[in-house]
């Protein structure tokens, strides 16, 4: 970069804050993106990367601070393009037709020919020899091909010129060869004066392509250096570590002593699936890795295979604690009590009737035990805060007699004090012989487990147990390090 004057910047953020209700997603960021540079953006889950992306591309407005840009930002014809990790093409349209949706000037007769030519040119440029049929419906193509099309649409001129392209995990479903084509193109694009923001969990790629690396944590930029000033260790270090190493390790050691006593008596394997996931009786098994790398799917698969949609035995084999409360857990029209008791009802039912007295007693017990903050369990579940809703879901699973409890990132929105209580509860239940499968995005929690499977790209990339479980080992297994 020859100048650092703000006028030159494609986008400049000054003191930007973004708040969602009480949550500070972005907490004061200054960032300048200059022409010709590729900025690697890294950070742990929930560090605020996607919020930052949406602020840069104009989808979100900052709560405080300023964002300046001298290129068209937002709307059709924007010079700032975002390629998202979740596929955002219309699956029922072809590649050329998808380009039409994002293209303000494709009109009139022969637009298909022009659209096809433009998308093919863009694909040829980024992925030479791609072999994609641009007239085939996108849902008939492979995930990798869809991702390539999305990237190509991001870089296509679309009646103007792409000035800044934000790539969010662009290589997550591409194989090494095609990913290399993309990296090479990003370099060329930047050399010609374009700007790229590159988000990836593959640190090798970040080092390969970025001229500058920005590290985010808790909505702030915690480190920002030229990429040659980082190495693998200092980068992992900058991404943050758990503050209280010692207490959780102590707890684990104590607990281990207790659970080995139980496990010695009955340590038989209760779960073993084709993907390599296994668990023994009384064991707390953690699933770790970056969010969206197949942990939740693995748990759902396990649960669906282990239970039936036709039978509801009085003693269920598994219980499930949802983390995505809206999608998997909370029944929004119901009271707290009804949400809590749902899994236990078959055990107490007489001739098809719900035992309402037993239900009320159960609700009362668990309200005391897990501390659900409400004067009346008859209140709607939606009247509770997120953390208290989560407690209800915990109670629903733990109140059942299921020997296996599957937990899909269950601590979202739970306050620290409650977390400690729930940890103790889980440990006590495990010592009594229950098996827990626990996916968590917080390394601190995973560090409490007896054994940990680290997931990357939908597969298990490491199995750690006992003293091997550490934040460093988990992070190392979550990020792909090998250099090619």
């Amino acid at each position: 970069m020859n100048t650092s004057q703000p006028v030159e910047a494609v986008v400049a953020l000054r003191g930007v804050h973004k708040q969602f209700g009480a949550v500070r997603a972005i907490d004061g960021i200054d960032l300048t993106l200059a022409p010709g540079e590729c900025v690697g953006l890294v950070g742990h889950n929930g560090a605020g990367k996607s919020t930052l992306v949406n602020l840069i591309n104009g989808t979100l407005k900052p709560s405080r601070g300023e964002i300046d840009s001298h290129v068209t930002r937002g709307g059709r014809g924007s010079a700032i393009r975002s390629v998202f990790q979740e596929l955002s093409l219309c699956p029922n349209l072809s590649a050329a037709e998808n380009l039409r949706i994002a293209h303000p000037t494709l009109k009139g007769l022969g637009w298909r020919r022009r659209a096809g030519a433009e998308i093919r040119a863009s694909l040829d440029q980024v992925f030479p020899g791609h072999g994609i049929d641009t007239d085939a419906r996108v849902d008939t193509l492979s995930i990798a091909q869809r991702q390539m099309i999305e990237i190509a649409i991001g870089f296509a001129p679309r009646g103007g010129q792409a000035r800044l392209v934000i790539l969010d995990e662009p290589t997550s479903s591409l194989d090494a060869g095609i990913a290399e084509q993309l990296l090479a193109y990003v370099e060329r694009f930047c050399a010609e004066g374009g700007t790229v923001v590159f988000i990836s969990h593959m640190l090798g790629e970040i080092f390969r392509v970025a001229s500058r690396i920005v590290v985010m944590q808790d909505g702030r930029v915690v480190a920002e250096r030229a990429s040659q000033d980082f190495d693998r260790d200092s980068l992992v270090d900058a991404m943050g570590h758990v503050a209280q190493h010692a207490p959780s390790a102590d707890r684990r050691r104590d607990a281990e002593g207790a659970s080995t006593a139980g496990a010695g008596a009955s340590g038989e394997t209760v779960i073993e699936d084709a993907a390599g996931l296994s668990a023994r009786r009384g064991e707390i098994v953690g699933l770790a890795g970056l969010a969206g790398h197949g942990q939740a799917e693995a748990l759902a698969r396990l649960y669906f295979a282990g239970t039936s949609g036709w039978r509801a035995p009085r003693q269920p084999r598994m219980a499930f604690v949802a983390g995505d409360r809206g999608r998997d857990g909370v029944l929004p029209l119901w009271s707290i009590l009804r949400n809590l008791s749902l899994s236990v009802l078959p055990a107490g039912a007489r001739r098809g009737a719900v035992d309402r007295h037993a239900e009320a007693t159960l609700g009362h017990d668990w309200q005391q035990r897990i501390g659900i903050r409400s004067d009346d369990l008859g209140n709607p579940i939606t009247s509770l805060s997120g953390g208290n809703q989560q407690k209800v879901l915990f109670a629903r699973a733990l109140a059942s007699s299921a020997p296996i409890v599957v937990m899909d990132d269950p601590m979202r929105g739970v306050d620290v004090g409650t977390k400690q209580e729930v940890y103790a509860l889980i440990r006590a239940e495990a010592d009594a012989g229950r098996t827990f499968l626990w996916y968590s995005t917080e390394t601190e929690e995973v560090c409490q487990c007896d054994r940990v499977f680290v997931f990357r790209d939908g597969k298990i990339s490491a199995e750690l147990s006992g003293a091997e479980i550490s934040e460093e080992r988990i992070l190392a297994a979550s990020f792909e390090m090998q250099e090619n």
């Binding site: 014809g77 349209l93 641009t134």
Partner: protein, 310 residues
């Protein structure tokens, strides 16, 4: 560029139609003539148009339970108002199309369930039709009657009309730029919104176009029957849904085929008349449509499974 491979699943509407047509010809040679073909498919023209209207609504993940009542109302307007006061008649028809467009915007603005709103609309359209025409009757405008009974060279009017409808709908929905955006709405409305389109405008356009096809269905219906009544087209609601699905369309995801839908409408009407040629009691005419629907959808599942395995 690679060649498209055409899957049997995509060809299913054509295959099922051909099978029934060949069976009809085998049973009744006289059907294989200019006059025979016209008789066979004549009354399908308005159904095919109504089916395209339904297809537009299904394309954006909604469903329209008021098609039958709407076409009946249009028929009543055409056979009375349009005959007596042409200007007023056209104005009324334009108003009906606008009402449809407004309905689309309303449903999406307030996130209402389309199935219930169109159910309510079916009562309103039906009531209006009864007000206009308490008893069946009316006449067709001369020009309309002439248009529908025209005898084109080579192929009969019914066949020409079916081809025209399929071609026009295909151009509009599958080939044109705006049709593509509307299909994208059913596929992934978030991505369409992200690209900077105003969604309520697009929904209004979709419903408005469906209204246009409904009006065309009512016009051709009067041209063919030369009279109408308040419930003349009440069976169209279910027939049009069946036609869209038979033609390869799906309720969710904007996956529709206008050509398939026209073939679907033709297939359903063939299923009924085939029985007559087989000397099977006409009691089974409706049942045959149901059976064809189930058979074709079972075959589709079979092909889908096989394709998934490949």
């Amino acid at each position: 560029m690679t060649r498209h491979s055409i899957s049997p699943r995509k060809l299913l509407p054509l295959i099922s139609f051909s099978v029934l047509l060949i069976a009809t010809f085998a049973l009744q040679e006289r059907a294989m003539s200019y006059l025979g073909l016209n008789l066979l498919f004549n009354l399908t023209i308005p159904i095919a148009l109504a089916t395209i209207g339904q297809l537009l609504i299904i394309m954006v993940n909604d469903i329209d339970l008021s098609v039958g009542a709407f076409v009946s109302l249009v028929a009543c307007v055409v056979s009375t108002l349009l005959v007596q006061h042409p200007w007023l008649g056209w104005l009324a028809l334009a108003g009906l199309v606008l009402a449809y467009a407004a309905l689309g915007a309303l449903i999406h603005r307030f996130e209402l369930p389309a199935i219930v709103v169109t159910l309510g609309m079916s009562f309103i359209w039906g009531g209006l039709a009864l007000v206009i025409m308490p008893a069946p009757g009316g006449t067709s405008p001369e020009w309309l009657r002439a248009l529908m009974t025209v005898k084109p060279p080579l192929a009969p009017m019914a066949v020409v009309a079916a081809l025209l409808i399929a071609a026009a709908a295909h151009l509009l929905i599958m080939r044109s730029g705006i049709g593509t955006v509307l299909r994208g709405l059913g596929g992934n409305s978030r991505s369409v919104a992200r690209a900077g389109w105003r969604l309520s405008g697009l929904y209004a356009l979709t419903y408005g176009l469906a209204g246009v096809f409904g009006v065309l269905a009512g016009l051709t219906l009067v041209g063919l029957y030369t009279s109408s009544g308040a419930s003349v087209a009440s069976s169209y609601t279910l027939l049009s849904i069946a036609g869209v699905i038979l033609g390869g369309g799906e309720f969710i995801g904007g996956r529709v085929s206008p050509i398939g839908a026209v073939l679907g409408a033709l297939t359903l009407s063939l299923a009924g008349s085939l029985l007559a040629f087989m000397h099977i009691s006409p009691d089974w005419q409706i049942g045959a449509q149901g059976a064809v629907l189930i058979l074709v959808l079972a075959a589709r599942l079979l092909f889908t499974r096989r394709e998934a395995l490949l």
